[in-house]
Symmetry: D2
């Protein structure tokens, strides 16, 4: 039975993680890190009587858990993950806010200590598989465009997942010359361009979070699409991470790299 | 039995029109206008022994047909359609190349003579219905974006049908304020903009000619999509035109306006 | 300013209707029918100080409103709608449970009294427009199949909207011979059959409520799709009904018939 | 430079293969097997002056090529492939008609001789990748349904690719209990059932050959779709086979297994 500590257990995502762990057979919630949680709030936060409630890093003893699930906030995530690696917890991190330098340093430290772990900007399995498959398909179909569709309230474009997908495709697809002689009679109609990969962002009310990757070849097309209707979807990826993180030898970036 | 003359009967589209008319019950091919067609080529061009073959406008007598189907070339289309209207033929015109001024003049002349007819830039029923439905839906869903997808050899963007769709929507949708505070971290990713309607053009090998209109509202979405796999599709619209053109009182622009 | 009474104002849908009316410019909430609502619960139920709260039909005076919005329960809907018609309220009914006989009788009564009204099994504008467009397209594309996709918890199939769509198509499409010599090597793989229209029902977790109507013709295809992500979507149709119901001369069945 | 012999070089697929090989940099067409091809037909069949034309197996010397591409007919495919394996050619076989017993025997023989090769029922890369990705995704999304759509002239259902996809998914997905209490109010509407995986077959004019695999999970969905518009699409997979077949140690079944 793997023991799990959840940092940020009182938050929305943290509570989903508590429910997930409580419902799994081969992992057990042994502790939470939650600065403002009182002992009489166990029922409210779905905690059994034996779960330890810690309010700060210095209260947490070695061996309190095998896995450190982190859904906290940008301001503390670096300290948390560093603490986890230094004290033998395998971090599973959904919190954003680490800089590239911090990530590099944490990966290096984890490798030196042979401490496995996972940092994932997106735990939604449909998005993660879309990225993985898109990278693989691009080796055979170098002609590819991306369309992402989000609710009208999302003010930035493109989505992080769409840009990540383009970057993954760019790593593998064969050298590719796009039509240099295209003519647009309406400005910008051919979309954004990431190293020759066109990205189109749609913003409409009603929509939630959706992405399509379109590949075309002689006489055929391949399309991979994912729809996220609800943040509940993140928990499928956390489940996979809980099952696999203890087999890793260092901190890995991206859930798609441990599938 | 309605009598039909086909101008441009030797061309690719003209030959499809010949096959269409030959296969219909209530119309009859009585004549063709084909400058270079010889009398011994009837079998090659699917013409029965009684079909008159004319080589120029001045050979064509009044009453040679009720309907004048025109799949010729831009250089002659104006003279042809004017001739048809002046001599009591109801024109069904798929040839491009008329200027806006020429169209206006022909419509005026046809109205004065109570001579019905149809000019259609697109006879594909799926595209025509898409435009019609999009215009209707926009009254209830003012939030709309258009995605068109064509083969990589199409060098211009957006497609004519996509732009026509945006213009039709623009005529009817309620005044609409788009998000003024959108931020694009990749230039052009939000696509082209026609009066606030975003248009996205995809170009990929394998694809043929496809268009989607996406509507979003609170908690729901409506999508209308058409796929043209083959120019054969144009004939479904010509058939509808043949059935309805004799009931019109003047020259009409756009098949969607007689459905 | 049109005056509105909402029957069932304390329920989930009723509350959405209250919010809708409160947010509209040209209609005004003047009364609710809510058997168990106390006067001190106005804030909880979004009611202003001047809104009358009635607990039974016999308390409601003539002229309490122009329009009667009904989101109640099957057990009372017939009595409510009959009362509305008899007392000069234009009913807008989203409650299910009326029998065919009851509907026929109410329509007859309303016609005799020149009392407009609307009964709609589905107020989602995307579903209503899908049905309307599908009926229209089937006149030109007699070859059509329907695919509906719902969450795995929906135990019945096909969905009511899919079946209604098939019935509407069946009313108009030309006589149509399906392939009599099809062979299925896996039982049932060609789906359900309503008068020659194939219907396919998909049930998967994550999905909400979606329907596609697929039309095919020579060289082309037309697809109409609607997605309902949230019951909030019903209110767009209620809004249309509130705008149009006072112009009707009798009780109409189906929102698509007043668009 | 790898040397290629094409058996069935005069047929439609064989000619596409000739064009493919002629257009590749690192392979060279050295011979064809074509029983009825005359030496003065080289231009017609796209053959250079140095390509050997053989009319029967017994004319073909060892070393005539490294790779044996076979697009022939069921009646001869077994003899051809056996000959290829016995004489040191790596077969790339698109011809159908081998029995399961014949395949097993050929695989066994090839393994004994360490002779690589590939037999593929489908060389369309989009279909092959769809199957590969579907198998992989099913490990994370056990809830899955398949929809395939083909032209109305296809008389059998489901398609071979859809059934192959279901079989691949069935090999890997976790034990899965479908809703036992579903109720269909229209017979067969839930489609065909292969070991709990629902398959839906759509047949419409205009469509060519298309397949979708729909996965659903808590709050999300993943869809993989492929469209084959033209048999030209097969050549992308033949190209991959030509690049990889000489690295294989035995005869492999299914292009997806060498990607």
């Amino acid at each position: 039975m793997k023991k799990v500590l959840i940092a940020g257990a009182a938050g929305a995502m943290g509570q989903k993680a508590v429910a997930l762990v409580n419902g799994m057979d081969d992992v057990e919630l042994t502790a939470v890190l939650a600065p403002h949680m009182a002992d009489d709030q166990r029922a409210k936060f779905q905690l059994g009587p034996d779960v330890k409630i810690y309010h700060s890093l210095d209260e947490i003893p070695e061996g309190a858990a095998d896995i450190w699930v982190d859904f906290t906030i940008p301001a503390v995530v670096y300290d948390n993950v560093k603490f986890a690696i230094d004290h033998g917890f395998a971090p599973v991190v959904g919190t954003t806010g680490l800089t590239d330098d911090q990530e590099d340093e944490l990966i290096k430290t984890s490798a030196a200590r042979h401490q496995g772990g996972l940092i994932a900007p997106n735990f939604g399995m449909s998005a993660v598989l879309l990225m993985k498959f898109a990278k693989e398909a691009a080796q055979y179909f170098p002609d590819v465009e991306i369309i992402e569709m989000h609710h009208a309230d999302k003010k930035d474009a493109p989505s992080g997942t769409a840009l990540s997908t383009a970057k993954l495709i760019d790593q593998v697809r064969p050298a590719h010359e796009s039509s240099p002689d295209e003519v647009s009679t309406l400005d910008n109609v051919r979309g954004g361009d990431y190293h020759g990969i066109k990205i189109h962002s749609v913003r409409l009310p009603g929509y939630v979070a959706h992405e399509q990757v379109l590949f075309g070849g002689a006489g055929e097309a391949l399309t991979i699409r994912q729809d996220s209707f609800d943040r509940q979807s993140f928990m499928s990826g956390v489940k996979v991470a809980l099952e696999k993180v203890l087999d890793l030898g260092e901190l890995v970036f991206g859930l798609e790299n441990i599938l």
